[in-house]
Symmetry: C2
Subunit: 437 residues, 2 copies
């Protein structure tokens, strides 16, 4: 059995609904369907969810909102009519309009996009509609009650095909609660985990993840397979992938997540797998991601390691100023503290003074404009020469390497370069690993 989740663009219009139907019918394992609210049909369009937020603001302060709600209502009815569905949402949409004008919470209002989307999809696919409010349970602190949720899902979802709205659930008293992050993806992930399915298919408008940022690298290769760990590392360094929290339930049950494209259903997509399931035909490097605008604080102290409190005192200065340390590579008698430029802003002088007082260094230097690039790949550890190729590609472009950090896991190498070398460096590393193979 597979859980399938269709994102906003896959539910944006009747024509997209037909694509979803074709996909569901192509594989009898696709029993559980989670849907988002209709997204944009084109660049000038609005997402239903955004319109519902707007609606809530208008209606709660009592200055209209009916016009916005009219458009929302019309979007759903158009899909219904174009697909010639048995269900008629007209009445429920009007009842909901009244509810939205009453004293409802924003979570209820914005959840209606997924709710109506799922109603239409269930009717169209001939599947059973199950309201997420009945199976996704939150506790009184608005946190997911995983035990209750699992039990409810297992009670309600069996031996049939089901359509479930994503993005929300409810407390025991019926009050609707939305997920703060990860939207409908997390609903699919929770269902996949609770039911222990073979695969969680996440249908989007892209054919999976790319090995590098397409704004930097021309037409980067798609990732066929990526491990949960690699995904985490790529997303940490700015790659635009699934929100981590949304994959957590599936990850905990080791359920593969397949990122697929509703508009090109035969594309291979990206399969997110547990570590053991990687196959060795893949590229050595899985992906390259990076972030700009870090600051380096270099601290030099003769016989640094002989002062056993040195590192602790140094870290304390940053902690006391509420600044996260991202990396701290060191050479002999010199350590480089890498922090976010934004977090340091306005605190430079204070930090330097405090390091001076607490750590008595021989020299402190602060340099901005550092970019960090992560070269990520589970297979890197198995093959020697990866570092050599990374640094070779940068040397060919005459990029000056400002720092290197690699822990004992060769899952990734972090390289620091000047901001102005950022794009060039990513392109060079990409070419070395993906174009030369």
């Amino acid at each position: 059995m597979k859980v399938t989740k269709f994102g906003g663009s896959s539910c944006a219009a009747a024509s997209q609904f037909s694509k979803v139907k074709a996909i569901i019918e192509a594989d009898s394992e696709r029993k559980i369907v989670v849907v988002s609210a209709p997204g944009k049909r084109d660049d000038t369009d609005h997402k239903i969810t955004d319109m519902l937020y707007l609606c809530h603001q208008f209606m709660q302060i009592g200055i209209g909102g009916d016009e916005v709600y009219d458009s929302i209502s019309e979007r759903f009815l158009t899909i219904q009519n174009e697909l010639d569905l048995k269900i008629d949402l007209t009445e429920e949409l009007e009842e909901t309009r009244k509810l939205l004008k009453s004293d409802v919470k924003v979570d209820f209002t914005v959840s209606r996009g997924e709710y109506f989307s799922a109603k239409l999809m269930a009717s169209y696919l001939g599947c059973q509609f199950v309201d997420a409010a009945e199976i996704i349970r939150f506790n009184q602190n608005n946190q997911l009650d995983t035990v209750q949720t699992k039990q409810l899902i297992r009670e309600k979802i069996k031996d049939d095909c089901f359509v479930i709205p994503g993005f929300y659930g409810a407390k025991a008293n019926g009050e609707i609660v939305t997920f703060p992050r990860g939207g409908s993806d997390i609903t699919g992930s929770i269902l996949a985990a609770a039911l222990g399915v073979d695969e969680y298919e996440n249908w989007t408008d892209v054919s999976g993840f790319l090995a590098a940022d397409p704004r930097i690298v021309d037409n980067p290769k798609p990732l066929r397979r990526v491990t949960y760990e690699e995904l985490r590392e790529l997303s940490y360094m700015g790659a635009n992938v699934l929100h981590e929290e949304s994959i957590l339930p599936a990850r905990q049950r080791n359920i593969p997540i397949h990122i697929l494209n509703t508009n090109a259903p035969n594309d291979a997509g990206t399969l997110i797998v547990p570590r053991a399931k990687r196959q060795d035909e893949d590229f050595v490097v899985t992906g390259i991601a990076g972030l700009k605008n870090f600051t380096v604080i270099d601290v030099e102290k003769y016989h640094m390691t002989e002062d056993i409190s040195f590192f602790r005192k140094l870290c304390s200065v940053f902690e006391a100023n509420n600044i996260s340390i991202h990396h701290m590579p060191s050479s002999i008698d010199r350590v480089s503290i890498i922090v976010n430029e934004k977090e340091m802003k306005g605190l430079e002088k204070k930090i330097l003074e405090e390091i001076d007082i607490y750590c008595s260094p021989d020299m402190i230097e602060i340099t901005g404009g550092l970019s960090l690039i992560a070269v990520v790949g589970e297979n890197m550890a198995l093959r020697s020469g990866v570092s050599s190729r990374v640094f070779g590609s940068l040397a060919d472009e005459e990029v000056n390497i400002r720092m290197i950090s690699q822990g004992s896991s060769e899952l990734n190498i972090i390289v620091g370069v000047a901001n102005e070398d950022f794009e060039k460096s990513i392109q060079a590393i990409y070419n070395k690993f993906f174009e030369d193979e």
Copy 2:
């Protein structure tokens, strides 16, 4: 003017004394001569200083020592007679024997090697003998009184050639104090600094430092020039060079130190220079050194950087256990703490438990058998591609790189490899930078 210092092997026998004389006479700038006690003449021989320590032990517990002292005395008298010197030490040697049997401190006893060596050398060179006790002043806490020392040196040492015994000085009351580390080298360094000479020549039995350990690399290239900073880094990583403390006075005055070979006085030797004086015809990499037997504690924690106290808490665990952190390279959500295997011994379980309690990591792993290799060179920062060549050379040998740390100064790169790859790695890096050029 130059200060010259001659080590134990340069003063081991009459034949060595003649070499010293030839060297002094070859350059009229060589006015100040510091000597060590006679060293070994061959592998079966003993150093005078070692024999004096032995003598002290015997004589202080009153069970002889005369036989040992006889050999010491004979060594000096043989040199005196073979060189047909005007001076006759016979009487003073016998007086000293009596003194050693009285209630003298060990510092006095062991200082006599340099004392008599200098007396002979002064007579042989026709220079003035100045006892170190008169110019190297220690305070009541046995620490060098730099101000007094400088003043005394400037008063006594001018307009002539002088021979001064190394290794010791005296308190104001005349009590002899020896230097705890660095022996006669530090005496030369202090004299060079106090007199502001042009160069401090340190004459030894090797033609300078080598680019790598000759026990690992066959016939490694000598270093023509090395900066104080590079020397510090090479010595930190186990290269057998001058003791840091012994070069400090000269370093503070930016006086170049020239390591030369008494047995091959025309060899270029190694010139230790301040940073600015490096010349760009040198190799990119100055030297390669390394140490075995480090332990890595890998700590993995999801969203590590979001816990701003994480690094401080981690460092505190090691501090509380009195363990120095040598490096802590990190990747995403994973940091590797590198410590000395010896310091960790017996504390492994305790450390892991404490990290678990204070840092709540997702995973901790401890691995021994790590070697650290430092590739050092002031010129590295100026040329791109150094990292590429370092890692390329290791890849060619299929060495698995277990960690990399490079701060923002490209003065050195620290690479971690398994102990069993240590020699192979040093050889590979050496070949890449010194044989292929």
